[in-house]
């Protein structure tokens, strides 16, 4: 039995192999405690191997004092070695509790450790990567397809969607994102204004900083800044929510009730982001222009009224339309990326973490691709 009395003196733990009647005896002595100096299993096994023709191993624990897990863990290694070497082990000399514990530990045979599959090399590795990328692309298209079908059902009034969820998400992704969108877009406008002013001053065309900032912000940067903020803030949250739901079998519960999780969970998030991202982008445009005006006023000494008139002259409705369409597309990209990764999540905490990271990376990558495609498209249609 393990002794736990505090304040007592402990004797050092010892284990030695001695020749005895009909075989070898492992003599155990002293107090065996975790954290104290303990005899090493390796040395003991090496000694056992060095003894010639051992047929039988017995134990002597007359001088054994207190012991804890350190004793049976060593004995387990010794007994495993003996079994492998065909040495008979006689457990009679062990303390009763230790014998029971060892019997318990040996009751279920050791399962052979899993051998990891060899890592593919060279072409095989490249092939596996290509297959993985193709698989991921197929999953993305399948998911987008499901979302489109669900949208179709929504239009026909046959989708199951909780509008309360929709309004809640609208609030979360819209009003609650205003402070961060304000700060980031004001600062981006300010940086653009500052750099633009420095360059244009060399040509005596300082006033055109208003054109530069206004067009850049309204056509692209306002929407991009908003989308990237939303990818980090909202896309990650969508992935984490859906990932946790996947881990708790909540999504399975929806499926077994015959409710399509894409309709029930993805559609409200998608619609909320498509609705709110253009509004946020419009607000980001205003803040960006204000940032540019501030920089132009402080560094370039341009009168704010003059700056405003110049901006109104430079920026047309078509530029706003470009920015708003871009923002709606980016919103859809963020929602789809977050929801896709959330639905694909594994069922444990580590998987939910990986899902969140992957959602943000996927969203930003696809936002940049969408920005490039949209720029070409707008040019082609003459917007």
């Amino acid at each position: 039995m393990v002794e736990r009395s505090a304040g007592r003196e402990y004797r050092p733990a010892r284990a030695e192999l001695v020749d005895g009647e009909g075989g070898v005896v492992l003599r155990l002595a002293g107090d065996w405690r975790l954290g104290a100096a303990l005899p090493a299993a390796d040395a003991l096994l090496a000694q056992l191997r060095g003894m010639s023709a051992v047929r039988r191993l017995g134990f002597d624990s007359v001088e054994l004092g207190a012991w804890d897990s350190s004793l049976p863990s060593l004995l387990l290694a010794v007994r495993a070695h003996c079994r492998a070497q065909g040495i008979e082990v006689v457990g009679a000399g062990l303390p009763e509790g230790a014998e029971t514990l060892l019997r318990l530990a040996e009751a279920v045979p050791m399962q052979s450790p899993r051998v990891a599959a060899p890592r593919p090399r060279g072409l095989a590795r490249l092939g596996e990567r290509v297959i993985a990328v193709a698989g991921a692309a197929a999953a993305l298209f399948a998911f987008v397809g499901e979302v489109v079908l669900a949208l179709g059902r929504l239009v026909r009034g046959r989708a199951r969607l909780r509008y309360a969820d929709f309004w809640l998400i609208v609030q979360q992704v819209g009003a609650e994102a205003l402070p961060i969108v304000s700060l980031v877009s004001f600062l981006v406008g300010l940086i653009l204004g500052y750099i633009g002013d420095q360059q244009l001053a060399r040509f005596g065309a300082r006033i055109y900083v208003a054109d530069l900032v206004g067009l850049a912000v309204v056509m692209q940067i306002g929407a991009l800044v908003t989308a990237i903020v939303l990818a980090g803030r909202t896309g990650a949250a969508f992935a984490a929510q859906l990932g946790s739901m996947q881990a708790n079998e909540e999504i399975d519960a929806l499926r077994t009730l015959g409710i399509d999780p894409v309709e029930f969970l993805v559609l409200p998030r998608l619609l909320a982001l498509i609705a709110m991202t253009p509004l946020l982008a419009l607000y980001a445009d205003l803040m960006g222009i204000l940032g540019g005006a501030f920089a132009a006023a402080v560094v370039g000494g341009i009168n704010p009224t003059e700056y405003a008139v110049q901006t109104i002259d430079a920026v047309g409705w078509n530029h706003f339309v470009q920015g708003l369409i871009s923002a709606a597309v980016y919103g859809a990209v963020v929602a789809v990326s977050g929801c896709l990764r959330g639905m694909q999540s594994g069922r444990d905490a580590a998987a939910v973490g990986a899902t969140t990271t992957s959602a943000v990376v996927t969203a930003i990558l696809h936002i940049v691709i969408a920005a490039a495609v949209l720029t070409v498209l707008f040019d082609a249609v003459g917007l």
């Binding site: 039995m1 393990v2 736990r4 975790l34 954290g35 303990l38 090493a40 299993a41 390796d42 804890d68 897990s69 350190s70 049976p72 863990s73 060593l74 387990l76 290694a77 509790g97 230790a98 029971t100 514990l101 318990l104 530990a105 040996e106 009751a107 279920v108 045979p109 050791m110 399962q111 052979s112 450790p113 899993r114 594994g346 069922r347 444990d348 905490a349 580590a350 998987a351």
Partner: protein
């Protein structure tokens, strides 16, 4: 407090946000016993265990371990005391980003000066004790619910605790696995000499393992009786306790 009592609750009230789920609990748990906390769903069994394992401060009263008040001690003293306890959570609560081996090794690495080789031997031994020898390299997501529970037991035992808490050990297990886990708990009690506090409403488990039990009642919000459940089944004063232990039969 009697000599043999290792844990004692004195007029203990536990609950959330000032609302007591269980109150006026007075009981003693003897050293080396398997003590079962039983009662219907929602009666506050888990809340009581949270208070006993240091996760939730009681609303009133005291919990004494070896005569020392647990919640009145300094946080450092409480942390030292907690290291002498082991807790097995209902779902195992294994850390999902670590293998079973790493799960069991973490307490040993944090609180002992053992070298990597010794830690490895101890982990192998603890996993073998719960029938998971050779499974150390697996992640929690790769094993069944029953295996996760057993791995949870191995982790709870890592530091050779004096008191082991089990939250619903047989919940969600098939009868055979539940019986094996019960047997493991009884064997561990005999060989380790640790005190076991087990929360369960599984009658088969209660009769198989309990030396003594307390019945918590949701309606009255306090304990109705304590004693050997086999004796309580026939002789408990309160009809509710007899009905519970006879599965509703009068």
């Amino acid at each position: 407090m009697s000599e043999a009592a290792q844990i004692r609750l004195e007029r203990l009230s536990v609950g959330y946000g000032g609302r007591a789920v269980q109150r006026d609990l007075d009981l003693e748990i003897r050293r080396g016993d398997i003590f079962v906390i039983m009662g219907g769903s929602g009666c506050g069994k888990s809340t009581l265990m949270r208070a006993m394992t240091g996760l939730l401060a009681p609303l009133a009263g005291r919990i004494l371990f070896d005569g020392e008040s647990f919640w009145e001690a300094s946080p450092a003293a409480r942390a030292r005391r907690i290291r002498r306890h082991g807790v097995m959570y209902q779902g195992g609560a294994l850390w999902s980003s670590m293998t079973l081996e790493e799960n069991v090794a973490l307490p040993l690495q944090q609180y002992t000066d053992l070298g990597p080789r010794q830690v490895r031997e101890l982990v192998d031994y603890k996993l073998a004790l719960v029938g998971l020898g050779g499974c150390g390299a697996l992640y929690p997501a790769e094993i069944s619910g029953g295996m996760r529970k057993r791995a949870g037991v191995a982790r709870a035992m890592a530091l050779d605790p004096e008191v082991l808490f089990f939250d619903e050990p047989s919940a969600g297990l098939d009868p055979l696995s539940a019986r094996l886990l019960d047997e493991l708990i009884v064997e561990l009690k005999h060989s380790l000499g640790a005190t076991m506090v087990v929360i369960t409403h599984d009658l088969a488990s209660i009769f198989a393992i309990a030396d003594e039990a307390v019945f918590l009642d949701a309606e009255r919000g306090t304990m109705l009786t304590t004693g050997d459940p086999r004796w309580l089944r026939e002789h408990a004063d309160d009809a509710r306790v007899r009905a519970f232990l006879r599965r509703g039969a009068a």
